[in-house]
Symmetry: C2
Subunit: 297 residues, 2 copies
């Protein structure tokens, strides 16, 4: 909460009940079309320094998807991280005293815990298998988003040379260093390759307080709104709504996550058409609740 | 966490890296089609005892949407609540001592606080404007999901008779009493009217710990999975994943919420085609993290 910069975007702005003809007008304005999310097939395994924009533009062609202005491309963070060379070989990591203690508490690999600490501002909670942290990027998540899965021996040996007997279990993948920047760069490259002005969203899967199951959330954003601030926008009868900040980028992240699946990496990019809000510049920061306004820290 | 009842549904089940031809097989299995979410236009204002199933089936026809088996219909809780007569006139509510105290703390209407307490198991946190509670239905949310907006004088006077000078600000809407049951009933009625076996999801917008903005979440489910438990399903290279419970019903709820908007009530129903998981029976309970496993209570 605490933002007040985005003016109401459309609709009747009075505080009294809207006259009948304006209600009808609101109905007409709601005549939005469908939202379509299409998994982009045939993305190859991504390695460090691959040109992801080229790969995606080619894959879109193979999928017979012709980009239009205001389309959105949603990327799983994993392929952005791989292209940016964020795979780390655990043999290169020496755990600190604090990492050793937390590793004992959580029954985790101390080298992974060390990386979690390096990637985080603060540890909020621990349990067996997980440290819940505030990531340096600002959001709260388990294990700083560090991922053991889908890092293949062949990919990593390309990156770091041949470690011989090392198995892929010795490699982990950090989140992209600056996901907003990665999204922006991708958006600009796609613009220059296709002429189309699209939005780009980078997402990860996060667990949640109170509810079981992970859901997709935004960790990097370019060219689409993160929050829609509808506070003060009147409802159908013209009464002021009290709280109507909507996490639209997270809602879209969840939708795209549904179409990516979780385990296999066959569909790490989803094409979106029909996003119902006006496009604008935004950053992840909009979605991070300031610590002092958070009742659950 | 802590569930272990749903077996892995598909894919290579070994613990060692999958042979090359199985990786290819996984690619082919990922050949899912698009997810399409279409707001159903022209749903009239809903009043108590309206037959919502009839109204929706008619609206689908008007929208040229022909239902198919395995389609999903997502309903905003508000219209379910209205049809079920969950509008309450605040003039009929006498606040308890505890409600008066909490109302002072939170600067809220004591009668609304009284209703929040009646609808809840426990108050977790308070701040000005909000009580964060465990709702009787099991989930954690602000103000027990009680809603001031979009309850019109004309609708409520139909329900409770004419209160003369009372404004709509004196009316609030509680959540449906048993949303899983409401979803099941809707699913069955649609089956009997159309012959099609669809999934039904009832959603609300919830705030979140740590992140700004509300997102759509499931509060009632019939005929589609709530969680997909992919723990132990191997990744692309055959390594065991550690945590892969995905809140697929919540991901779909977020997607549908994006297409409903927040303020106007013109599109409280969204039609979904292409949900990528097998349909099955489920209830909201799958999505509720047991209190003793919740680090943020």
């Amino acid at each position: 909460m605490g933002r007040d910069v985005i003016p109401p975007i459309h609709g009747y702005a009075g505080c009294h009940p809207a006259p009948r003809h304006l209600l009808v007008y609101r109905y007409l304005k709601n005549n939005v079309s469908a939202l379509t999310l299409t998994p982009v097939q045939h993305i190859p395994l991504i390695r460090r320094d691959d040109n992801l924009a080229d790969i995606v533009v080619n894959a879109l062609q193979e999928n017979d998807i012709s980009l239009e202005d205001n389309d959105i491309l949603v990327f799983a963070q994993k392929i952005i991280s791989k292209a940016e060379g964020r795979a780390i070989n655990l043999a290169t990591i020496t755990p600190s005293q604090r990492a050793l203690e937390l590793a004992k508490q959580t029954e985790k690999d101390a080298r992974v815990v060390e990386l979690i600490l390096r990637e985080s501002n603060e540890v909020l909670r621990t349990r067996v298998g997980a440290l819940i942290v505030e990531h340096k990027l600002g959001f709260v998540c388990a294990n700083a988003g560090i991922d053991h899965s889908n890092v293949s021996p062949s990919e990593t040996s390309e990156v770091f040379g041949d470690f011989g007997s090392l198995s892929a279990e010795d490699w982990v993948l950090l989140l992209p260093a600056e996901p907003d920047r990665s999204a922006e760069k991708m958006r600009d490259e796609i613009k220059s390759k296709t002429g189309k002005r699209v939005g780009v969203l980078i997402i990860d899967s996060h667990g949640r307080a109170w509810r079981n199951g992970t859901v997709g959330v935004a960790i990097g954003i370019a060219g689409l709104p993160a929050l829609e601030d509808l506070r003060g926008k009147p409802d159908l009868f013209g009464y002021k709504l009290q709280v109507t900040q909507v996490g639209v980028a997270d809602e879209l992240a969840a939708a795209a996550s549904l179409m990516m699946g979780q385990a296999a990496e066959g569909t790490p990019v989803v094409h979106v058409r029909g996003f119902p809000y006006p496009m604008r510049e935004a950053t992840l920061k909009e979605l991070i609740r300031p610590k002092e306004q958070d009742l659950f820290r």
